[in-house]
Symmetry: D2
Amino acid sequence: MRIGMIGLGGMGGNLARRLMRGGHQVVVWVHGSEATEAVAPDGAIAVASIEDMAGQLREHRTFWVMLPACEPTEQTVTMLGVTAAAGDIIIDGGNTFYKDDIRRSKMLATRGIDYVDVGTSGGVRGLERGYCMMIGGHLETVRRLNPIFETLALGFGDIARTVGRDRPDDRAERGYVHVGPAGAGHFVKMFHNGIEYGLMQAYAEGFDILKGRSSDKLADVWRRGSVISSWLLDLSAAALARDHTLEHYSGHVADSGEGRWTADAAMEEAVPACVLSAALSARYRSRVETTFGDKLLSAMRFGFGGHVEIPQ
Amino acid sequence: MRIGMIGLGGMGGNLARRLMRGGHQVVVWVHGSEATEAVAPDGAIAVASIEDMAGQLREHRTFWVMLPACEPTEQTVTMLGVTAAAGDIIIDGGNTFYKDDIRRSKMLATRGIDYVDVGTSGGVRGLERGYCMMIGGHLETVRRLNPIFETLALGFGDIARTVGRDRPDDRAERGYVHVGPAGAGHFVKMFHNGIEYGLMQAYAEGFDILKGRSSDKLADVWRRGSVISSWLLDLSAAALARDHTLEHYSGHVADSGEGRWTADAAMEEAVPACVLSAALSARYRSRVETTFGDKLLSAMRFGFGGHVEIPQ
Amino acid sequence: MRIGMIGLGGMGGNLARRLMRGGHQVVVWVHGSEATEAVAPDGAIAVASIEDMAGQLREHRTFWVMLPACEPTEQTVTMLGVTAAAGDIIIDGGNTFYKDDIRRSKMLATRGIDYVDVGTSGGVRGLERGYCMMIGGHLETVRRLNPIFETLALGFGDIARTVGRDRPDDRAERGYVHVGPAGAGHFVKMFHNGIEYGLMQAYAEGFDILKGRSSDKLADVWRRGSVISSWLLDLSAAALARDHTLEHYSGHVADSGEGRWTADAAMEEAVPACVLSAALSARYRSRVETTFGDKLLSAMRFGFGGHVEIPQ
Amino acid sequence: MRIGMIGLGGMGGNLARRLMRGGHQVVVWVHGSEATEAVAPDGAIAVASIEDMAGQLREHRTFWVMLPACEPTEQTVTMLGVTAAAGDIIIDGGNTFYKDDIRRSKMLATRGIDYVDVGTSGGVRGLERGYCMMIGGHLETVRRLNPIFETLALGFGDIARTVGRDRPDDRAERGYVHVGPAGAGHFVKMFHNGIEYGLMQAYAEGFDILKGRSSDKLADVWRRGSVISSWLLDLSAAALARDHTLEHYSGHVADSGEGRWTADAAMEEAVPACVLSAALSARYRSRVETTFGDKLLSAMRFGFGGHVEIPQ
């Protein structure tokens, strides 16, 4: 297939490369015409504007938007809503809030444009490893895009089939899944990231207690046959192998919207989610030196016990 | 009564003062004979050694040990075990681990010495406000000490009687309670402190979110008629009235043994205690700038997303 | 003053009674004319409709809406928006989300109607004890309502003045505070309730571990002089005095919006709030017998360890 | 090599089988002579007593104890301490508390017997997949046992080498690691399990919110290329593929000592560990229908708000 890719950051560039390796043709664009030439992956057709991209694509054109959520994505989808024609497809592969997908999908439908949201997991390693995709949109549209997803996905790989699994639609086992109408892909991606926060914090706490005690050897050995083997552990082992002190990392840990949205979803459904909430709190805490709350604790302790906790 | 008080820190000195105000005679001693003269409250009989103290007390002598838990208390109780005679009473009013009380009580019983543990709450304000005491020991011994506890306790004060309460033994409503044999007092004090940690953290988090938004006025108003009025809130209001920025407090919050022991007790009994554990974790976190765990989170994020979280 | 009170549930009825005791005249109404007659407190003027109420009030009429948040309150405020005239005041004393206050305030301002939101704490005991009120609205309007708030508030009572406090505006110390424009009262009430959840859970966990071990005596004694004395502890002591097994309570604990909103506010401001989140999760958990998550844990344990956790 | 295996439960039996597949000879024994014959794996030499086992082994005999921690293991090690001779090796492959290992090691050393502790991860699937082993003991002894560990471990398998890793001792990458003197193996295994609890709870919470929404397809797809792929997710996917309602699992989740010990270790080192603590609390909560704490919450809510939360 021929597809347009808008945005060539860590994710977009690699998606384009993997698509071309799979035999697809990719037209690329980033804001600023010179920029596109400079960063376009080898073999991609660099264009100077969204209109140029539209001209380079065939009938039933497909635009994949791979940009930071909120403003950049919103603006680009809005521009595409003007440029695209009935029968075209706009894919948002970023980390959009699912209620925004639903809104956009309805708006674009009035012009006959199809909207597909793809929660894309796999990070910068996806180029070699393949991507995991959670997809929302119309049945027919998603089916039409099958060759794209097939190429981007990890496929069966060398991962054992799920025991007990044997059904006609094996797409989930090949790394992508169609979970419902527009918004459903990002809805599900949200939970993926919520779980991710909890997993990461579990490793962080375990290694924090162990700190200085063979962390790198342990990360290595746990990768092989232990109950806690995982891809996040693979990444941890690699980082610890490079420098077991991790001193080049600030430890000021950012969070994106998905963690918060998952916590919100848990509250909306009244589901207890202590671990996910605690993981989020730990990130907030990592970014400040001292909280006003901590000072209040010091103040109360001074009030009842005369305990002095003042800066040296 | 006449009583010996060993240790004249924030707690011991005030206990002695309140006892004397109540008409008791207090013999005091701290390590180092000159020291005792210098810090003894007016009206107290300062002595130069434990043996002197023993000489100054009457038959059935009562020694109240008010020292930091662990080493200082352990050593003093051991010395008293040698100096004291059958029929004497040793009171540990500090924050000893209850299993140490049980051990000491058995050991001292072989020499006919009675051991009483008193979990003492009320802090430096107890002199005026009165203390809340949780007591473990023999029924008869605790009864014999009644005049002491009566004087130290807050009494009914102006606090409304517990609705529905009407029983012969009203000591709990007068501020002290005999909860069982040796160790029981500190066992129960442990939970008091565990709850205290949770309460403090609840206020800390609430004010942390509010920070800069009328914290001092809110602390004031919540003291009057709100569901969250409490003594800890009174102390918070006082601190915020003095300086609503709390900038003179370090926010590096210490914890004593009781919080950990409560968490241990919860685990021993398989009782969920998320809030108490979280309050404890928050204190640990308050004392370090960055954790190894936070750095590992940064490292994983770099690994999968190329997110750069390095020190500036 | 003369004031209209709409809603006569646990809160509204007592507010009306306390106002009348303070010398105010109260016109009351609940949906359904017969209903109002039946439940109106002695001395109140019962009316059959909002229009009747408007007729019974003087110029610059004041309507206090004391209804469950969301639908009932929203509908009533909407009706009042039609009935009221320029210069009238509508007070929402319930638990409305602060963004709804802001919206309503703007809408009503276009008709010259003043909107005041009052976060009201104190519960069913407020009749005797007095209420704690956090108020949002125009400076002049709030000042005009001063006699009302003065009567409803607890006042200085027998509560010690905040140490170090000495300022001209002492309303906070008399139990009510004007914190800002419309919405500010409920904004601040939200944090009050968030803290409340954390405090309650701290007591719940402590007593859970202690269960069966003198809970009622301990609640009594901790009320007097201990660091953890509070009004919530007073209530706990009263409940335990009536029945120390608490067997007549279901333990299925509801939560209202404020807890969730506080958690949301914490996330919006990236403030760690582990205790408040954990308290919320504990309530969700209390209302279900087994979670899907728990079953998944069983399933994983069976998967890796052959541990059998199946219903008997 | 020839080795004695004591205990033939889910773990011991499979360890014996994997050893024999690797060309080792295994002498097996369980309490009760008939029992051993009945459950001994094909090819193993079943004996009727520890003394018989000792007789069947060669000089420098090696006994692997694979029994539930605490009593069964303690008793067996004690018996072996009598039967074994200088130069023999006793391996404890179970989940013993590391301080017990240190004590035993010292005691056995006085008789010239070597003690090795092996934290063994991999569960019932280890027979096919290989085990992950964390080993404590003398350098020379552990080296002597190399052929055993080599056979039991997963080896490099098809798992990518840790990026950046290149060192002479590559045992960690082959699935086993020597981390220090006696006790070190179980010390490290403890953290492994602590992390395991946190990971499991993260998945549990995520799937709990999603419940009923394509859980089985999502588990499948996340196994392939997503950031949260792991062995625990493989197991979850298998369980959900068999029955996506999981209705045959009780959801009453047991916990073994390691989780608690990890929480203790975190407290000993003052390391924040909110997620690990919360995971533990969730398990405790899963095993009771209603807690006393929940009832107290209901009671307080009735106290201040008249909220009725009583059983129907």
